[in-house]
Every structure is written in C-alpha cells, then in structure tokens.
Symmetry: C2
Subunit: 100 residues, 2 copies
DNA sequence: CTTATATTTGCCAATATTTGACAAGTCAAT
DNA sequence: ATTGACTTGTCAAATATTGGCAAATATAAG
C-alpha cells in the first residue's frame, strides 16, 4: 500500500469506466503524470483535489483526507518515533482548534 | 507556539549557558541560521539532530519526536480534515509496524 | 504475428522550494 | 557611544519537484 490516495482515485476512475486519457486532460496533465499519481510516484496538487473529486463523483473531503494522510505518512514512515510524533502533533492541532 | 522543536532547543541551550555563536559552528552553520531554526523559520537537517542532542545533552529521541511533530503539523495545520488524516496515517503506521 | 489501445517507465529540462552566506538591524548592558 | 547577543532581510546557490515527451510494456483483437 504505497499511496492510499492513489489507490482510491484509481478505483474510483475504474468504477466510472474512465481512461487515464479521459481524466488527465481535465486536470491539465498527460496520462503519464496521472498514472504516476495513481501509483503514488507523484503528488496531485492540493488545489486539484476538488476538481478531481468532481470528475470522479467522489467526496472532496474524503480525497483530501487520504491525500493528507499520504503526506503525513511520507514524513514518518521510517521513523522510530513516528507514533510519539503523531501524538505530539495531534495535541497541537487540538489546541489550535479549540482556539477558533 | 510556532515550533516545538525550536522552543525546546532554545530552552536547552539556555540551560547550558551556551550562546548561538558557540553552538552554531558545531553544526557548521552561522548564528543567523541557528537563530532561525530556534524560531521555527528554518528546519534543522534531520541528520543533525543527534549531533545537536549531544551538544545540548538531551535525548536524541525526544528531539526527533518534536522535530517530526513539527513536520507533521506543517502538513495539516490549516486543514479541515487534519484529524481524520492523522487517524488514517496512524492506522497505516501501525499496520506497517506490525509487519516487522 | 501485427495492430490498436491503455498504461507505465525513464529521462531531462523547466520550475519551485529550501538553504547558505553575508550585511545590516535591534536590543540590552555598560 | 561601544560591545555582545541575537534577529532580520536579501539573494544567489543548491536541492527537490514537476511537466512533457518518447519509448517500453501489457493486453486484447484480428
């Protein structure tokens, strides 16, 4: 499981019976790039997520969640202190949210 | 609270009564850079964390944890889906660790 | 086996981001 | 006014990421 986001959008695309060559131009990229994104070798730009969600008739929030999770995972994947770091980060996020 | 790592190493440095100008050369940088790192405006290189831990007589694991937490926070700080993303990422990390 | 279509891979130039280095600045103590 | 510690701004250099293309692979059909 290399990229949860990539796997998800591939599944969604196949469910819609769409080809890379159909979806890629809507995101202004070529099929090679989209292929790499689905395989987790490249990142979709954050601001393109809502666009892709619409194309794939999916929840933008869900795709965003997976996309972010991939970014986080990339930071900590080989780290011994991964879990502790996540806990510390979570605390800080919760603090921030309470302020709003 | 902009950088937990930065705040921590500043506190540690002050506890040891060390000046930026004393610590910076040990990390092969100038005081301006170290100052920015302590204020969270720049990142210390990951591989320098153990070196700095030794200089400051601190736990390398603890510093690494804070450093990673800062990286994670940077990814999700303004994101509505931050918490969900963290949960998804955690699950994936736990899966990975179980495999070892 | 040849063709056609979909996807993948490799490469490298273009673009974007981060860093290193220095100069000039603030601030506090004297 | 001078000194010492730290901070800030700038900008070129170093790194990292992306875009775009061509070639490779895979699968199915004739």
């Amino acid at each position: 499981m290399n990229s949860q986001f990539g796997e998800k959008i591939r599944t969604l695309r196949e469910k819609q019976h769409l080809y890379l060559r159909q979806v890629a131009p809507l995101l202004e990229m070529d099929t090679a790039q989209l292929s790499k994104i689905e395989k987790g070798l490249r990142q979709l730009k954050r601001e393109q997520i809502p666009i892709l969600a619409e194309i794939l008739k999916a929840s933008s929030d869900e795709l965003m969640t997976l996309w972010l999770a991939d970014q986080i995972y990339e930071v900590v994947k080989d780290e011994k202190m991964a879990n502790q770091a996540m806990q510390v980060a979570e605390k800080k996020i919760n603090l921030k949210q309470r302020k709003k």
